[in-house]
Symmetry: C2
């Protein structure tokens, strides 16, 4: 397929064209750059990128499903990028696109794409950023990036979103409680899902108190929403909160700033990826004894006197 | 404190010296390289680095506690590096060292150190590798790296271990099942913890079948162990499995290969880290329009004709 055919496919919202374009990105095909250079920048700029993240067991998938349904009722075309921690060997996404979001399987205006977190060139932000642009160019005005918010790369990917919602639920244990902390600081919306379960009120109070620490002005604070995704409760309020944050970010310039940072992050990821092979080549052909401080070895490798040896 | 004092502290197994040395590494202090260059390479080479990973709720901490206790009974000094997904803002570890491994709090021959996954220079492998060397040089002959095995960087860190054990438990849900897959492929030992819970047998059978796919020869296959860490059951068998894998890796040369790869990975991480600031500087001072394919922008930034634009 030529790039013009794929670009036409995107404009025509042809599922095969969209799938092909994202696959080219994932496969690191040179054609991908040609496609990404010819997308509709206005559509990309206008789409809302919503990051939904949270620990396993918080109910992210169910919640995402409900959010999709609401946006569909509003007539929006919705793109979903589901980020899976995945095999270091196969490099493939673990959850097939078909497994997730089954409720929207027959809806042509819900485009779901799984992305593996491993085995890719250019970093995860770069790949998700590319997928986001492709989905936006195929007419998706809402794009949801769903990630399991526990690892570093999963947290990084949130940086490409315009708005980040963190989903928590009561009773997820200590490990989970620890994980959420990093995300709390970057979330615009804190969702207490399973709000009908014991401990939800206490969790919501915790979240409210964390939100208050986030800013003295009401509008700078993270919003706390309570939902029971399995019953569809609280989803209208959540969408209202998203709208409020979005309006505020547009007004303050925060939206533009985030987009610029996200773009530069992608460029940085790519630049490092381009430089990496030559460093690996150097290491592989280098006769080093693999002892002592690796940083000093790295400096030697690069031919730099990069560290001051202090007294 | 001068580097000689710290090095003497390590030799004397002085907890303050150990803590200071690792902090210098974490703070990216030039003194850290001096210390890392003067460590006891023989002790580092001889120590066993055991990676224990698994999803939240599998019972990693309890199991790690039990494993520590067993090695203590064998007279081994044990170091623990607990890797926490952490705040992008504070960059600090979330779980204080004191919170974890409380059972060994008064034992001077159990040295526990938490490491944040974020906000560090040089990558997580580099930081954990440095901490591992410091712990080994202070006489720890067993070093456990405990991570929440869900994200990419958490999976990467396992690459610095000699032996990797993946802890799973029945009933952890779909998210968890998906996460484990990438880890299954790199694990030497598959632990089914909470073996007294419903579903444990089925999970163990799954693991056995996955292990069989891993190799036609018995000794190449991952070992499957069943434990009830909360009651201390199955820990002797687990240690026997670790010993078997270790012996096999030493005999086959696998241990040496892994160490070399791990060292080179650290050098790579440092080299990229050293190059990164100049790229960020370039991006920040660069008048780009932030449109189109980020990879092409990166190539332009580096002054490269790195991609072929195909027809």
């Amino acid at each position: 397929m030529k790039s013009e055919d794929i670009l036409r496919g995107l404009r025509d919202r042809d599922p095969r064209g969209i799938a092909r374009a994202i696959s080219l990105v994932e496969e690191n095909d040179p054609l991908a750059d040609e496609i990404l250079s010819s997308l509709d920048d206005a559509l990309v700029a206008e789409a809302m990128i919503l990051g939904i993240t949270g620990p396993p067991g918080a109910g992210k998938s169910t919640l995402t499903d409900r959010v999709i349904a609401k946006y569909r009722l509003k007539g929006k075309r919705v793109g979903v990028i589901a980020v899976d921690p995945s095999s270091p060997i196969s490099g493939g996404a673990l959850l097939g696109d078909r497994v997730r979001m089954m409720g929207h399987a027959l809806d042509k205006d819900v485009v779901v794409r799984s992305m593996a977190t491993r085995g890719r060139l250019g970093g995860l932000c770069a790949a998700a950023g590319a997928a986001m642009r492709i989905l936006a160019s195929s007419g998706c005005s809402v794009i949801i990036i769903e990630t399991v918010g526990v690892g570093q790369s999963e947290m990084d990917i949130i940086r490409i979103a315009d708005i980040t919602a963190l989903v928590l639920a009561p009773g997820l244990g200590d490990d989970i409680q620890a994980m959420k902390a990093g995300l709390l600081e970057v979330a615009d919306i804190l969702i207490v899902n399973k709000a009908d379960c014991p401990g939800a009120e206490a969790l919501a109070m915790d979240m409210e108190s964390i939100a208050r620490e986030g800013g003295s002005k009401e509008k700078d604070r993270a919003k706390v929403c309570m939902t029971v995704a399995s019953e569809g409760k609280g989803i209208d309020e959540l969408l209202a909160a998203i709208e409020t944050v979005d309006a505020s970010h547009r007004e303050s310039g925060e939206r533009r700033t985030r987009r610029e940072k996200a773009y530069d992050l992608e460029v940085l990821e790519w630049a490092l990826e381009m430089i990496k092979p030559s460093i690996i080549e150097k290491i592989n052909t280098w006769n080093h004894d693999r002892k002592g401080a690796p940083r000093l070895q790295a400096a030697k490798l690069l031919g730099r006197e990069c560290v001051r040896i202090s007294e």
